[in-house]
Symmetry: C2
Subunit: 124 residues, 2 copies
Amino acid sequence: MYIEIDFNSDEALYVQLQNQIIMGIAMDLIREGDTLPSVRQLADTVGINMHTVNKAYNILKQEGFIQLDRRRGAVIAIDIDKAEALLKMKRQLKIMLARGCCKRISRQDVHALVDEIFDEYRKE
Amino acid sequence: MYIEIDFNSDEALYVQLQNQIIMGIAMDLIREGDTLPSVRQLADTVGINMHTVNKAYNILKQEGFIQLDRRRGAVIAIDIDKAEALLKMKRQLKIMLARGCCKRISRQDVHALVDEIFDEYRKE
DNA sequence: AATGTGTTATAGTATATCTAGCACAAAAGA
DNA sequence: TCTTTTGTGCTAGATATACTATAACACATT
């Protein structure tokens, strides 16, 4: 699994790390039980500071995507709190759809986008 | 149209202003041609600094939701660049759906959420 | 004993956010 | 005309966040 960082992005580095890892899980590039690189190793290969990686890992742990262990390092371990996840998604969708609505994006447009993206993710 | 600010939120004040105004447009509480309060007036009623309101207005202008005029103030004027809006939405959806996918949120769950939210917005 | 984990502490720099005050020109109202 | 209000531009300071840099710690593995 390759992780690419855009230093010119306005997104914080640790957020970019989070997103890449989460998308890696969704696309099945890494699975439950797989280990991520150590904080020092990932920091080296990406070219950023150890603490920035550590911050990303800690948030991922807090959000229930990985577990951190002194022996094994960072391990993919999804804590499925679907109700909580749905609430968060709804909050985000509310403002995203408001923006789209103003720009005349239809309900069908959104459904199409969702389907298109979902096709790249988990094949269940 | 009422605007409420949560000072305990982790969201920046100017972002909260943006979102409230955009949702106001989506819910048809304010329409094309309507004017928003002046920066000083809104700042007073909300209890924040003038420049914070000014920042929100300027971003809204840049994103094509309002026009700023010295005579009329801030006027709702949607610049419909649907293609651009779709691109932005897709970028956001990509990471949002990845998170949901990891938490076992199904395609149908998302469609239901989208419909539920859309019902509160523009009746076309 | 050496190495590799995550973890914590401290410090420094840079950027973002919010507030405050001032000045100016254009527009509106009395 | 006079006054007020408007958006705009500018500077400045306070606070928080982001990122980097070192260093050290506790634990497990080799």
